[in-house]
Structure formats: C-alpha cells, structure tokens
C-alpha cells in the first residue's frame, strides 16, 4: 500500500457527565454521584491510504460515529491526533483546519437544512472557502448535481421535495462540492430502501473511480461493507478488535467477536440449503459506562479464559489481518 493519507493516531474520546457545584458538594458529603464518563473510543490507531476504502463495522454504540466524527475533524479527541497528509485536521482548540475531509451522514432527512434550497446548500461551503465565487456558484453547483445524477433543474427546490435517495445524493454532492480527498461516510445507506441502497452504493463506487476518493465507510451492514471496502476494521466497545483486507477478514475471521458477528447475520437463502443457518451471539454489549476489565468481549466470548479478564489484548498481526485477542498471543490462560 502507498503512504498513509489519513492517519488516526492513538485517538481516544471520553464523554464526561456534567457535574454541578451541588453534585460536587454532595460528593463531598458522601453521596453517590455519577462521575463516570463514557469512554466511547479507546486508543484507536488507523491509517488509510490514498484512494483506499476502509470499512468500519460494529454494533450500535461501539463508537463508530464518534471515531468518524473525530476523523472528519468535527469533534476533538480527548487524546491522540488525526492527521491528513501529516497535518492535523483539527486544532487543539477544536477548530477544523481543513476542508479536504468531508462527511456524509446516515439520515438524509436530517442532514439537509430544510430551510435552504439545494443550490444554497451546495454553494454555501465552496463560496465560503473560495472554491467558487458567488457569481459562478450556479454553474459550479450544477456540475456537482450532474455528477451525482440529479437534474440541474433541482437547484431551486427544497429538501422536502425530494425522496430519501435523492436527498442522499444531494448530501453527497454537498460533500463533493468541497473537493475533498477523504469522505467519511457514517452509515450512508442504512436508512435507505433496498432498491435505493444499490443506487447509492453504485454512486459511491463511481465517485471513487472517477475522483480517486478515499473513504472511511462506517456501517453495521456487513454485506455492504464487504462490497465496498478494501480493508475492514471491526470495532467493539470503543476498540478495534480486528482489522484486515475485506477478503481475508470475511473469509477467515480470527477474532471470536468477528466470527460470531459474521455468523449471527441472517443470510439470504434462496437454495434449499437449510443447514447453513445463522447463530446468534449470546448476551448483550456491556454498558460503556462500566466496560468490563481486560478484553471487552470476554463477557460474551465462548473462548474466554482467565487472562481475558485480567489483561487487555493488543492489536497484533495474525494471519492476513491484525487481531486483538489473547488466543493468538499465547492463549487465554493466565501465564504462571
């Protein structure tokens, strides 16, 4: 792979609850006051090469969006940095420093300002950042509308006049109009209908071909991620537990969580092959307020041993991918 382009370097994010003066006094007085924060992302490092698509998969609440936000420079990490071509995307004060990372969000109904016309939505950023002038904005916008397969005549319309798929195209056009290198897509097809989903996936594929975009593609749909990604990272409770090329990871998942996750998804069966059924993972995700010690997955892991409770596994190369599991670093029993 070529030089990394977007580098996420040991990034963590913690959400601390608001503590009032009263809470503090009460805590002094010995009352139980919730001071624990949510450790949404824990010490994650990733590097994405130019033109590469990295898929990020995980269950709800595991920190995908949080990581995506930090990668896009919308949210400041508690620790660690995100760099684009060596330069941080965000100042320590929380100001975004680059326009070269843009985002596409999940909900096409919420991601467009309902009070702005399509033209305004698309032109606002480029005009503000000097990518085009106010006078040329119309043509500029029309060009991007073409690109995402929307009619130029739509510039004057408002978001509520479009269907979900069309809105998502507008959202993509808005991101593209900023001429980004990297697109962070946070579940961009999750809320679309099946028949529309394919259109948008195809659009992403086409844009990658034509513009050489780099994607951080977040989804919980394993099928979609597989289809679009070069590499895939699996997240669990704020940590990356396995990362590798899509083919290798799907063909030979190493982490027990990845294995269970892949097995738990019902597959579309059209043959009478009844045997290949899915099997759910036992239990539920622990609360991020009180993450279990050691390996976060040990509470649900069929292969867990004493070491998993005591020790947090590191992400180490295992086969074609990198995995954070004790199974591959000496077993789950505690070393004597």
């Amino acid at each position: 792979m070529s030089d990394p382009h977007l580098v996420i370097d040991r990034v963590s994010k913690r959400f601390d609850p608001r503590v009032t003066l009263g809470d503090r006094i009460a805590a002094r007085l010995g009352a139980r006051v919730e001071l624990r924060g949510v450790q949404a992302v824990r010490d994650v490092s990733l590097a994405i090469a130019p033109g590469e698509t990295l898929g990020l998969v995980g269950e709800s609440g595991c920190g995908k969006s949080t990581l995506g936000r930090m990668a896009a420079g919308i949210m400041a990490p508690t620790s660690g940095t995100v760099r684009l071509e060596g330069r941080p995307v965000m100042s320590p004060g929380g100001t975004k420093l680059t326009t070269r990372v843009q985002t596409v969000f999940q909900d096409p109904f919420a991601s467009l300002n309902p009070r702005m016309s399509v033209g305004e939505i698309l032109a606002e950023g480029p005009v503000a950042h000097g990518l085009t002038t106010r006078e040329n904005a119309r043509d500029y916008v029309a060009g991007w509308l073409d690109r995402v397969g929307l009619d130029r005549s739509y510039v004057g319309r408002f978001p509520h006049q479009f269907s979900g798929g069309q809105r998502q195209r507008i959202a993509i056009a808005r991101a593209l109009a900023m001429q980004p290198d990297v697109l962070v897509c946070d579940e961009p097809v999750a809320s679309l209908d099946v028949s529309i989903q394919a259109q948008i996936i195809n659009l992403f594929l086409k844009l990658r071909r034509e513009l050489g975009l780099t994607y951080l593609f977040i989804s919980h749909d394993l099928g979609v991620v597989r289809h679009i990604s070069d590499r895939v990272a699996i997240m669990y409770l704020g940590r990356i537990v396995e990362i590798g090329t899509a083919d290798a990871l799907y063909a030979d998942p190493r982490h027990p969580y990845t294995q269970a996750l892949l097995a738990s998804v019902p597959r579309l069966m059209t043959e009478d092959a009844v045997g290949a059924e899915f099997a759910p993972i036992a239990g539920e995700i622990p609360s991020p307020l009180a993450p279990p010690p050691g390996c976060p997955f040990h509470t649900r892991c069929p292969a867990a041993g004493p070491r998993c409770v005591a020790e947090m596994p590191d992400l180490v190369p295992t086969g074609a991918q990198r995995v954070a599991c004790h199974l591959y670093t000496g077993g789950v029993e505690l070393a004597a």
Partner: protein, 323 residues
C-alpha cells in the same frame, strides 16, 4: 439526587440575593419611603430624624449590608408601616393566600384535567370544542376583568355569594382557616373561581395536548393491540403519562398563582399576602417588599424542588439518574 437538591438550594440563595438587591436598588431609585409615609405637617427636623432612625440616610450598599447581616441572623426586619416583624406580618396573611391558591389550583386541576383529557381524546366532538372555547377564554381574559364580572353577577346582581373578604375562620394548629366553615366556603368560592380560571384553562390545554399526542403513540396502539379497553387505556396509560407535565405545571402554577393572587386579592379584598405586597409597594414599605419577594422566591424554589422530586417519583426514567 442530593447533589441536585444542593444545587437547587444554592440557586435559591442566589435568587433571593438578587431579588433583595433589586428591591433595595429599586426602592432607592424611587425615593425615600419616609416621604411617602410621613404626615404633611412634620417638620424638616422630624423628617430628618425619622430618616436617620431607619438608617435611610446611609449609602445604599451600607443599608444592604446591614440587611444581609441581619438576614444571616434570621431577621428580615420590621415593616416601616406596621413596625411589626415582617415575618410575622407575612405569616399572619399567608394562610389566607395559601387557602385561596390551593383551592383554586386544586379545583382547576381536578376539573380541568378530566375535561382536557376528554377534549384530547375526542378532539373533534362538539363537547370538546366547547371545552376548548371556555379554556381559550379563560386563558385570554384578564383576571381582574373576570373578577369584576363575577362580583357584579353573583354578589351584587344575584346576591348569592359575598362580594369579597374572607369568611369566619377556624383555628387549626394555631392558624385560622376559613375553608372549614360553610360561611368561609361561601366567601372563598368567587375569589377561588376567579383565580382558578386561568389555571383551569392551562390544565385543560395541557392535558388535551398531552392526551392528543399520547393517543397517537405506539404505546396506546400497543395497548389497544393487547385488547385493553379505551377506559383502561385512558386511566392507566394516558393519565399516568400526562401526569408528568401536569405535575410540573401544577407546581409552577401553584407558585405563579400565589403571585397572581395579587390581582384577585385586590379585587375581592382577600386579606392575603398579595394585597400586602401591593400595599407595601404603594407605601414603599421596603422591608415587607424584600421579605415578600424572598419568601416567594423561597417558596418557588421549594415548590420546584418538590416538583422535581415528584417528577422523579412519577417518571421512573429520572429515578436512576438521581440514585
């Protein structure tokens, strides 16, 4: 929860401080209270002596500091007009106001909520439209105006009820309550009705809006799907759900009703604290003004606190947070 309570109390202290400072500055800006109270034939010298005796010639910050100092010892001062301890003065009138307010707010709630639920349950029926019409009127028409019409109609014209004042009281716990006598109720009825009208409208609107929204939720649909009768749904699901906003409003309204009693008390010559505050504003009786506002602020904070605690009782979702 404790932290929350402490936070509230801290805020309460702050409100009271701000309110009292405001009154001090305000009264200072209006003028010297002695000028309002003193007889026209007092000589300069008598006036000067009176002013000095009450420390009104001192700089305002000094007066305020003195006030705070005494406040810390639990002394709110003495009324300029009555030379009584203002706490005594206010507490002697508080039962009258409390009684009036309670009757008004309880009445408004117990009549308004069922009607509101009905109007929300059957938003298009003529009865509901009628209920809403009344509530819009109650919401819009200024209290003083309704008060007048009530007196005019029921006391003067029909002669059914007294035109004002409080009825005979019965002592309970050393406090006189008038709602314990039939005659007392007769006196209480009109002012309470007057005062409750706005609250009534409020309760109707609130419970109607709440019911309408809840009726469209999946919760109700699910209850219906489980075969629950409409009555059970209203009684167990809807009532419980709308009770949360209603309790909030009940609490807040209780406070603001206390404050709004000013108008009703003036019209109905109800010997409560509301009238006292108007009188003390008119005579620049600063200690009473300050004490009253502090009291109201304290009352408000207490009520808000109670509301929040009740809230937590009613809404289990909040309980855990507070644990």
């Amino acid at each position: 929860m404790l932290g929350f309570i402490i936070q509230r109390l801290l805020q309460a202290g702050l409100v009271m401080l701000v309110m009292s400072a405001l009154v001090f500055v305000g009264v200072f800006a209006i003028g010297n209270p002695i000028d309002v109270i003193i007889s026209p034939d007092a000589t300069q010298d008598i006036r000067a002596r009176a002013i000095a005796a009450y420390g009104l010639d001192r700089p305002i910050w000094e007066q305020y500091a003195g006030f705070l100092g005494r406040l810390l010892q639990g002394d709110l001062g003495r009324s300029f007009v009555f030379n009584m301890n203002v706490t005594d003065l206010i507490f002697s009138r508080l039962p009258a106001t409390l009684e009036l307010t309670l009757v008004a707010v309880l009445g408004a709630t117990f009549i308004g909520v069922p009607l509101g639920i009905y109007a929300g349950y059957r938003p298009d029926s003529p009865v509901s439209k009628g209920i809403m019409a009344v509530s819009v009127l109650g919401f819009s028409v200024p209290t003083f105006w309704i008060g007048l019409l009530l007196i005019l109609t029921f006391a003067v014209w029909l002669g059914w009820l007294p035109a004002g004042s409080r009825g005979p009281t019965v002592e309970v716990f050393g406090v006189g309550w008038s709602f314990l006598t039939p005659e007392g109720w007769k006196h209480l009825l009109l002012p309470a009705l007057n005062l409750s009208l706005f609250k009534f409208a409020m309760m109707v609107r609130l419970s109607r809006a709440g019911t309408r929204e809840i009726m469209l939720t999946d919760t109700v649909r699910f209850a219906r799907a489980a075969g629950l009768s409409e009555w059970t749904i209203l009684r167990h699901h809807v009532l419980k759900l709308i009770s949360i906003p209603i309790v909030t409003v009940f609490g807040l309204e209780f406070g603001s009703t206390l404050a709004f009693a000013v108008v009703t008390e003036t019209i109905f010559s109800w010997p409560g604290v509301g009238k006292l505050i108007i009188d003390s504003i008119n005579s620049l009786d600063r200690p009473v003004m300050v004490a009253y506002l502090i009291l109201v602020a304290a009352l408000f904070v207490t009520i808000n606190l109670l509301v929040d605690l009740t809230y937590a009782l009613l809404d289990p979702r909040l309980r855990r947070k507070g644990a």
